[in-house]
Amino acid sequence: MKTKLVGLFVIVLLLLIPIISNNYVIRLATMMLMYSVFAMSWNFIGGMAGYPSFATASFFGLGAYAGALCQVNGVPMFLAWVIGGLVSAVFAWVLGLAILHLKGHYFAIASLIVAEVLREVINSATGITGGGMGLNIPVLRMGVDAQARLFYFSMFVIALVTLAVSAYVSGRPLGFGLKCIKQNEDAAGMTGINTTIYKTTAFTLSAVFTGGAGAFYASWVNYIDPEDVFEILISIKPIVMVLMCGAGALVGPVIGAGLFLFLEELVWRNFLTFHVGMLGLMVVFLVIFLPTGLLSVDYRKFLKKVVR
């Protein structure tokens, strides 16, 4: 009951933002929603299935380029977003079949390297993607304020859909099976779970909304380049966000995203040339002194090891 009230309150607050704030705050809020989509998406594979995925940047960048190229070639904006999501999803399905048999560090690296490969590929495919010169996306012909609100509400809808899918999945056999896989994959297989399909599905789910958000992003900022959309931080930030509030809770990623971006903005406003360093300190602080925020990852095991 209480959580429902809180949820309602948050939604009302989010709906109020475009009415009471200026365009910059709306931009920040859009960014926050976008990152919460990343965080919720990561949660499918990272939180539910327990695979340390660093593939967010790959999905995001791929979606961004797919969407951008569609738009450059005259596909309507909203359709381009859907295509962006689908392209990432298909990619994730294939990639998942290839690398989800890897465990732990190996999987982490493989998922991390994929973004590097995609970046290099897109970088060198100058003819299609503009390579390092980036890609310009046609600007929407509408007023500044209207545009800000359009993008805000679009992102709001994407985030809501992501949340709904998360909620749906976690209450079904899929979510339950992923939980089993996280605990003990071999045993999960011997319990009758088709682990390959389950994991790959989770990986694909984590890609589809991220990819859609990528395409959205391309339309939103009107310019993308490989360095930017395949940036490693895009993979790391959602993880920190999820860890901040615990990987188990459904709205945890959303709150984590809000909290993290809020802190980041504060740091950034207050330290001109040292904000990156301060952000680093913040992460260190979180990891060292707030391990409880990280509790659902493997808290019990962690404590046990410390006691020993």
Binding site: P173, F176, C180, Q183, N184, A187, M190
Partner: protein, 252 residues
């Protein structure tokens, strides 16, 4: 269809090391077959091969007249082979009932999560764990964990149950309780392959015993026949133990 499970010349190598070489035996429906052998003889490898964790390097594994050696573990589980684990518990941070529900949900195809959880309650009742239904599996004591393992396997509605050292680490009184439980399973029509160290257990419940040594099958037969086999005594039991074993059985 005489044998439920057949192993035909099954071998498995890890790198250059042969963990199992040319092992062949049958498990007949309705029996309790004991599998004994020293540590490192390949017992757990054998279980892993049957449940699809590994694939045999050569040879065939046949379950109900269908070869299963190329199937993945989930498919094998759905055909009706369940196992328990030697040391760990499958899903430590999930509740006891969820652990069992997982078996019911995925192997037998209970259509919803709710249905699976209801079914799980029934199995927990059977192994007398109902009072712990909502505690995390990791917090159970060792004997209770073994029971949980059993409940989970039963929830999968298996035809063949592989019990991997279910008695290790529990005391004699508890062992006696467990023996009763195992015997009652056979009455339910479940065939059991029992992997054990504790000779007492093997002697008292198994109808037949196979002995593995260095990855090869060295003896197969009735329990008493096996314990008196000179090769088994030399490789595994030791003369003193054999003497002690005889003494114990005399006292009984």
């Amino acid at each position: 269809m005489t044998a439920l499970l057949q192993l035909k010349n099954v071998s498995r190598n890890f790198g250059g090391l042969a963990a199992l070489s040319e092992v062949s035996f049958d498990v007949h429906p309705g029996e309790i077959l004991g599998l004994i052998g020293p540590n490192g003889a390949g017992k757990t490898t054998l279980v892993n091969l049957v449940t699809g964790v590994y694939r045999p390097s050569s040879g065939q594994i046949i379950f109900e007249d269908k070869p299963i050696n190329r199937l993945k573990s989930y498919a094998i589980a759905r055909m009706g082979i369940a196992r328990t684990f030697q040391v760990m518990q499958p899903f430590p941070e999930m509740t006891v009932v969820d652990n069992v529900a997982a078996g019911a949900l995925f192997a037998t195809g209970a259509s919803t999560l709710e249905e699976a959880k209801e079914l799980a309650q029934v199995h927990l009742e059977y192994v007398d764990l109902k009072k712990f239904a909502n505690t995390p599996a990791a917090s159970l004591t060792l004997p209770n964990r073994k029971r949980l393992e059993l409940a989970k396997s039963l929830a999968m509605n298996p035809k063949l149950l592989l019990l991997d050292e279910v008695m290790a680490g529990i005391n004699s009184v508890e062992i006696d309780q467990s023996l009763g439980l195992i015997k009652s399973l056979v009455e339910k029509g479940i065939t059991i392959l029992l992997i054990e160290h504790i000779m007492k257990v093997v002697m008292s419940v198994c109808s037949r015993v196979v002995v593995l040594h260095h990855g090869s099958l060295i003896c197969e037969g009735q329990p008493n026949y096996v314990t008196s086999d000179p090769q088994v005594i030399k490789a595994y039991l030791g003369s003193k133990f054999a003497a002690r074993q005889n003494r114990v059985s005399h006292e009984q």
